[in-house]
């Protein structure tokens, strides 16, 4: 800091040179000025000098003190003091090196994260209840489709098998969900197309297959679909490979016999009725379906818990539902792309549920984007290219990017754009080295609209980014 003292003589010299008057005149003038101020002050007046400040007399009250050496109480007499209050112009000019600093509220930032935490604590409970409801729905659906007699056995069997299945890796779990969704769709399809057929056995409720008079093309397609499912099962569950072999055999038999094909692979043909294995297989299949449902619930739970905290602070119960829909839909889509031989007919039947789920999600995203994306947002998002410059400045001691920003753009927050344009010359935006030539970029007037709070907000965001970068 330069603390050298300028004497009256130097002031006189400067004034005389500036206003081209002789030193004698300047000296006279200064003396008169000081004496005038003094006189006015002694008369008890307030002296105000334009653009400089105000002189005022203040009375300091007499006060008691203690003589440090003797310990006696002494009374300091009151006295007058000349106080000087600088004019706003002078004050701002002097304080310019620190003008960019603003008071920071320290406590205001703390309460927010605490609130977030409480939200997080509440949300899992909701999610759990949602999941429980979903699983219940799935189970009831499956039970409704399967025979009443089987359902009891399934319940008994599903429990012991569950631990074995739970060891299945995450990938398998996803595949299982795919499988499950497909099975569901086929079931729906079946219900939609269903024409009451003679039920050969009371146990085989799902044997309500398509009638024989259905078009052969569709028939073949469906069979292929089944096969694809079967092959998938082979990959996923080596344990069930034996079962799938049975299934394949079963299909072959069905092909030969030309009987109606059941859309669900676990269905038994009349030829296997006497055999015990198909029934067992049937049970196994239903068991798998239930396990899948449970695993799907688990998956949903995992998916919901894994995303960052911010994701579900905002999410309400509805959103949770949408997320699960989304998962199911996306997984189902994955599956649809896999088997190319999936029939157009079947697809049209399967698609409605998925597309509605997808569309609703897509629409939401689109709507959200429409709200936020406008011309200004586009401008914010696009990387700024600086080609035109409206000026340049050589860094002097005490100069800062914020001061330049204030000078050229009218607001100190827009310094980030100057920094962006001069990144290669400025290693640290907080400490620009002396003598550096800073080019001031020409910016779109909408981008540096001082009256638009969004512009300032964006600039502050960028500020945070750069300052954090520097810290890291």
């Amino acid at each position: 800091m330069n603390k050298e003292k300028i004497s009256s003589q130097e002031i006189i010299d400067l004034v005389s040179s500036k206003s081209s008057v002789s030193k004698r005149v300047a000296e006279e003038f200064l003396k008169v000025m000081i004496s005038s101020i003094e006189e006015a002050l002694l008369a008890g007046e307030v002296v105000k000098i334009k653009n400089f400040g105000t002189f005022k007399l203040l009375w300091n009250e007499p006060r008691k003190s203690v003589n440090v050496q003797t310990g006696d109480d002494i009374l300091l007499s009151g006295y007058h003091k000349v106080s000087f209050t600088p004019d706003t112009i002078l004050r701002d000019l002097v304080n310019e090196p620190f003008a960019h600093l603003l008071p920071v509220e320290l406590d205001s930032e703390n309460p927010e994260p605490i609130q977030e935490k409480t939200d997080v604590a509440l949300d899992p409970l909701r999610i759990f209840t949602d999941q429980a409801a979903e699983i219940k729905d799935l189970l009831s659906e499956i039970q409704a489709l399967s025979s009443a007699g089987d359902s009891k056995i399934l319940k008994e069997e599903s429990e012991p098998v569950l631990p074995v299945e739970s060891t299945v890796v995450a990938e398998d779990v996803y595949k299982l969900i795919q499988e499950e969704s497909v099975v569901e769709h086929i079931q729906e399809e079946q219900v939609a197309v269903q024409i009451p057929n003679e039920v050969t056995e009371p146990v085989q409720t799902q044997n309500e297959a398509e009638p024989i008079q259905e078009s052969p093309v569709e028939f073949v397609y469906e069979e292929k679909q089944q096969k694809s499912i079967v092959t998938e099962i082979d990959k996923q569950q080596p344990v069930d490979s034996v079962v799938s072999i049975y299934e394949e055999r079963q299909f072959n038999d069905e092909n030969k016999s030309g009987q109606s094909v059941n859309s669900i692979p676990e269905l038994d043909s009349t030829e296997f009725l006497k055999d015990i294995k198909p029934i067992r297989k049937h049970r196994v299949w239903l068991m798998i379906v239930i396990i899948i449902a449970l695993l799907a619930g688990l998956c949903g739970g995992l998916y919901l818990f894994c995303p960052p905290v911010t994701d579900f602070t905002n999410s309400s119960i509805e959103k949770v539902g949408k997320i699960t829909d989304n998962v199911v839909a996306s997984v189902a889509n994955l599956f649809h792309t896999k088997p190319k031989q999936t029939p157009p007919v079947a697809r049209t039947i399967i698609v409605p549920k998925d597309t509605t789920a997808n569309d609703s999600v897509d629409d939401e995203v689109a709507a959200a984007e429409k709200e936020s994306v406008d011309s200004l947002q586009v401008m914010f998002d696009n990387p700024r290219v600086y080609t035109k410059f409206i000026g340049s400045e050589i860094v002097k001691p005490g100069n800062r990017l914020t001061i330049m920003s204030k000078k050229y753009y009218g607001n100190k927050d827009f310094w980030v754009y100057i920094y962006e344009a001069n990144k290669e010359n400025i290693p640290n935006p907080d400490r620009i080295s002396e003598g550096t030539v800073i080019r001031i970029p020409k910016l779109d007037s909408r981008l540096i609209d001082v009256t638009n709070p969004r512009c300032i907000k964006k600039a502050k965001e960028l500020h945070d980014v750069y300052v954090k970068n520097k810290v890291n």
Binding site: I11, F29, L30, N51, V82, L93, V94, N95, S108
Partner: protein
């Protein structure tokens, strides 16, 4: 006493037109401002010193809301009267 009155009284003492006095005063003010911006101390003989002081940053607590605010550092102009002026002021009686 405002700016105009000061100029008037000075013009009367100097026997000079007000316009010249006003110009000179303005020049003096701008000179002083420039020097103060450079953080230099200006000493007027028998009157006092103008000095730039740095106020360090500090924490202030709002008395009623308890919101703690970090006040940034700033530079302020400070005037300290000279002993000559102080002695003159001693003679002034305090009426209040």
């Amino acid at each position: 006493m405002n700016h105009k009155e000061l100029i008037a009284s000075m013009a009367a003492k100097l026997n000079a037109p007000k316009s010249i006095v006003a110009d000179l005063l303005e020049t003096t003010v701008t000179t002083c401002t420039e020097l103060l911006v450079e953080e230099k101390t200006i000493g007027f003989q028998s009157f006092g010193n103008f000095e730039v002081r740095k106020k360090e940053e500090r924490l202030s607590v709002h008395p009623s809301t308890q919101v703690r605010t970090l006040i940034p550092p700033k530079l302020v102009v400070n005037f300290k009267q000279s002993n000559v002026l102080k002695d003159k002021l001693k003679d002034l009686s305090h009426n209040e």
